[in-house]
């Protein structure tokens, strides 16, 4: 049956056709397989591509419907540029701290000679903590380091250190960075683990047999090998922080003007008094997220050369 069906179709098709019979048949058959992807492609088109396209389209128009770069260029207005600067700084600080501390912690856990249950406990916990973002995380840090947080009170009453009098505030730049670190650090530990596991003991033994000290091995062999992975993870953490909104919203009651917060307010009530500027703001976010994610993928491909 399988063998007889195709010829019978081609016969019935070729007979009435005046145009060359074979070329139009082949693509028609291949197209049928593509049909199976229509539900997914349709879903992606309607709820991923078209919404983004709508915003991009709006970002290159003026409010009266003229196509121009004016709207995108108005992102450089001091207030908007300030928001972008703040977002970039916050993302950079939390990603850099997450990368450095995560690398150190990951190194200690995987290659530091600790018992394996310690590593397993940290890995499980990291899986949970890296997903513990948003509003509850903000609550946890308010209860910890807020004005009446437990750690704040213990430091003040037991150790005599009043961190709020010393200028610290959970709702300031460094407080927010510290809060972000709670999900950035475990994410880094999880992300860098494959690269650390890919460092073969032979390389270390080879370096040691050639007389390298531990520091020399780390600085001259391990770090250069890890560099693409580490940089890639940094970019991923950066993007992760840049898109975060709920944590900062709950912590500061939306009073900290990073880009996602400004965009959120704009959607709520057009605070920028220019709908197209909102589109431009969104497109700027997509560009930054897209750039850091693309670089991450490129670096990950590079890093995978060493992890076979």
């Amino acid at each position: 049956m399988i063998h007889t069906a195709p010829p019978s179709i081609s016969q019935s098709e070729t007979v009435p056709q005046a145009t060359p019979p074979t070329p139009p048949r082949k693509p028609a058959r291949r197209n049928l397989s593509w049909l199976g992807l229509v539900p997914f492609l349709g879903f992606a088109l309607l709820f991923l591509i078209l919404p983004v396209f709508y915003l991009v389209n709006g970002a290159f128009q003026t409010p009266d419907g003229r196509y121009s770069f004016e709207t995108m260029l108005s992102l450089s207005a001091p207030e908007i540029a300030g928001s972008y600067g703040l977002s970039l700084k916050l993302s950079f600080a939390s990603a850099a701290m997450g990368t450095v501390f995560g690398l150190i912690l990951g190194y200690a856990l995987l290659l530091g000679g600790l018992p394996s249950w310690v590593r397993r406990a940290f890995m499980t916990f990291s899986g949970v903590a890296s997903n513990f973002a948003g509003v509850p995380l903000a609550f946890a840090f308010i209860a910890t380091l807020g004005r009446l947080g437990l750690v704040t009170l213990v430091l003040r009453d037991v150790l005599g250190i009043n961190i709020y009098a010393a200028g610290f505030s959970l709702f300031s730049f460094w407080g927010l960075t510290l809060t972000y670190l709670y999900f950035q650090l475990p994410l880094m530990v999880l992300m860098i683990t494959p690269a650390l596991e890919g460092l073969r003991p032979e390389w270390r033994e080879a370096a040691e047999s050639l007389g390298a000290s531990r520091m020399q091995y780390v600085a001259r062999v391990a770090l250069p090998l890890l560099a693409p992975s580490v940089l890639g993870c940094f970019l991923l953490l950066f993007a992760n922080a840049f898109g975060t909104l709920a944590t900062i919203y709950a912590l500061t009651s939306a009073n900290y003007p990073v880009v996602p917060i400004v965009l959120f307010q704009q959607i709520r009530g057009n605070v920028l008094y220019n709908p197209n500027l909102g589109y431009a703001l969104a497109v700027g976010m997509i560009l930054i997220m897209g750039l850091s994610n693309t670089l991450y993928f490129i670096l990950r491909r590079r890093a995978e050369r060493w992890q076979k």
Binding site: S33, W34, G36, L37, P39, F40, F43, A44, F47, L48, L50, P51, V52, Y54, L55, G58, F101, L105, A108, L109, G112, G113, L114, V118, F122, T124, F125, G127, V128, N131, F132, G134, V135, P136, L137, F139, A140, F141, I142, A143, T144, L150, L185, P186, A239, G243, L245, A246, A250, P260, L263, F264, I267, R268, G278, A282, I286, M289, G290, N293
Partner: protein
């Protein structure tokens, strides 16, 4: 290699552990202090006593379950079809499935509000039901990167081509093959993706809030503005909830096809097979 105790590593691990655990202890302790002068679970009781809490939790759980169902219905046939018939489309489909990681939720919902608003061909946000549908769709989009990865990994572990040929040679239709042959074999992969989806969407704030839905995320923010101790209790519960979801996700993700459903029963069947 030296055999001495790794002091430096232990110190680093200790500091790391302190950073992770101190906020949890502090939050838990804080959540017990609602009654002045004693430790009690008053804050938890007050949360559970409120009808609003149960209402929003019910709403969010329903929306999350719908999102899981819809996600499975979209992702499973697609991943199957890509592997079986159109492997050339894999880069495109994979790129699309990862795109939600690049588009922040706030941007996504901005597009929805404008595209499906009042002057649209498909004015979903104009009706209550339509907005709920859009909310579920938003959750699906957020979870697609994880769902697709989980399902695709599940399919990599089984031989789809052979299973499909076997089913077809016995006369099964395409739909029947997917539902009765492929689906049971990747069930644990789907469940693993489902738990992740559930943990993402249950407390989701941005999309939910901008679509004005009476769900758990906006409720949490409101609680944070109105009360002092209940938020700490909610944070502890959220952490426990995330933990459970991740443990279950992990358990199902590492389960091989055909293995027992309860992970801790698995070793017994392995030893039985050995003897």
């Amino acid at each position: 290699m030296s055999r001495r105790f790794p002091i430096l590593s232990a110190l680093i691990a200790l500091i790391g552990a302190a950073f992770f655990i101190v906020p949890l202890i502090a939050t838990f302790n804080f959540s017990l202090r609602m009654k002045r002068g004693e430790l009690s679970f008053e804050a938890y009781r007050s949360v559970f006593d409120s009808d609003v809490f149960l209402g929003v939790l019910g709403f969010s759980a329903t929306a999350s379950l719908m999102a899981i169902l819809m996600g499975v219905l979209i992702v499973v046939p697609t991943a199957y079809w890509v592997r079986l018939r159109v492997p050339r489309a894999r880069p495109v489909i994979e790129f699309l499935s990862l795109m939600p990681l690049i588009i922040p939720p706030v941007v996504l919902v901005f597009g929805y509000v404008r595209l499906y608003g009042s002057s649209s061909i498909l004015p979903l946000t104009m009706t209550e039901a339509g907005t709920n549908v859009l909310l579920v769709i938003g959750y699906v989009v957020l979870s697609v990167p994880y769902m697709y990865r989980a399902v695709d990994n599940g399919m990599a572990a089984i031989d789809i081509a052979t299973l499909t040929e076997a089913a077809e040679s016995l006369g099964a239709s395409r739909l029947r093959t997917i539902v009765f042959v492929i689906f049971p074999n990747i069930r644990s992969a789907i469940v693993s993706g489902a738990f992740l989806t559930f943990s993402i969407s249950l407390g989701e704030f941005v999309i939910t809030s901008l679509l004005n839905r009476p769900a758990f995320g906006p409720y949490l923010v409101q609680m944070g503005q109105d009360f002092a101790y209940q938020p700490a209790a909610l944070a502890i519960m959220a952490f426990a909830f995330t933990w459970i979801c991740m443990v279950l996700m992990e358990a199902f993700a590492t389960r091989k096809p055909g293995q027992r459903l309860l992970p801790w029963r698995a070793p017994r069947s392995v030893t039985k097979a050995k003897s």
